[in-house]
Amino acid sequence: MRALLARDLRLAVRAGGGFGLGLAFFLIVTVLVPFGVGPQTALLTRIAPGVLWIGALLACLLSLDRILALDWEDGTLDLLATAPLPMEGIVSVKALAHWITTGLPLVLAAPLLGVLLNLAPGGFLWIIVSLAVGTPALSVIGTFGAALTIGLKRGGLLLSLLVLPLYVPTLIFGAEVARRGADGLGVGAPLMLLAGISLGAVALLPFASAAVLRINLR
């Protein structure tokens, strides 16, 4: 498992791996928002937590089809399937690699972009916390979607259609934590619920993803 994780990370970081693509996308979305809604700082302060969450979510979505598609095309996935590692393990490692290469950079970049959006001073800590807690769920749910659409030619668009509704609860609670944090309110309840969704998804969804992959590899 560790070897597989190391391999995925190396592939992502080296040229053509698309590492940083999600990050650049996050930056561009955040920069475009003031153009869309106008530069009034008061307005930007109000919408900053939500915009950061949506940007992170879209950046995550953008990189989903890379989780499994490349390995599927060159046959690596077939080899992995015959390896002694259980399919659930493979899927979990893939999701973890996706989180390290996409989710973690997003978490670290969010406060910097928060400066651009004039995020309230109290919000910086909570945007980091909420993204750190919420992005693992995004990666795991995304891996499930990627596994579903792996064999399809026009899978990319379908992948978004399938995954975005699944992202709704995570987004609601994540953005709620960030918003309440920025407004200086208590964040206990939404943070617990967000953590609950994340942990539940990490614990259970790999089984669904593995089942889907097995069907697709038949």
Binding site: L148, T149, G151, G155, L158, P165, E176, P190, L205, N216
Partner: protein, 242 residues
Amino acid sequence: MSLWEYANPVKFIRTTDVVLPWVSALAVVCLTLGLAWGLFFTPEDFRQGSTVKIIYLHVPSALMAINAWMMMLVASLIWIIRRHHVSALAARAAAPVGAVMTVIALATGALWGQPMWGTWWVWDPRLTSFLILFLFYLGYIALWSAIEDDDTAADLTSILCLVGSVFAVLSRYAVNFWNQGLHQGASLSLDKEKNVADVFYFPLLVCIAGFVLLFVALVFLRTQTEIRARRTRALITREQQG
């Protein structure tokens, strides 16, 4: 004699052929009776005026939109556990019907909301979760139509249905957390003594019965069509190979 006999496509077609005309006729009768009664022979509401009559389309369609997804969930489970093809095809057949029911519920709700709330749409928990349900239907239908191999499609969509159900319920309660509601609470509950005034209640029950029968009839018909289409494809393949 067990329920599983109907998992045999031939038996299913033979039985539904007998049942289908009756169910369709009953659906027509119930809908005609319920809608005519509801639309023309009930008094106008004290405050809502004649817009109260939208209830006869709105409530039954919303009810069926949720129940259609429940039926797909059960059918998907049966397919995963017992591998009965009819079950998978029934789930597939129900999806577009359920999606249309969702659209009807949303559209009639908007028509009612415009004069009553002064807006076509608010981000109310109930409205929002229905919109999300509609997105789930879209994803499900799109996945079915995107995969060529029938069994793979059935497997993948049934797993999507299971996972989607969990997330649909999560979303339902998450949106409660996110915004306060404008939509009234449940108007129909089995455990309440009095739900709505009797003049509105009885035609509404007839309409609900009509929508349930309509749904059953459509699902039977569409499942039959799916079975026959698949059989035709199999015959054509055999012809080409032989």
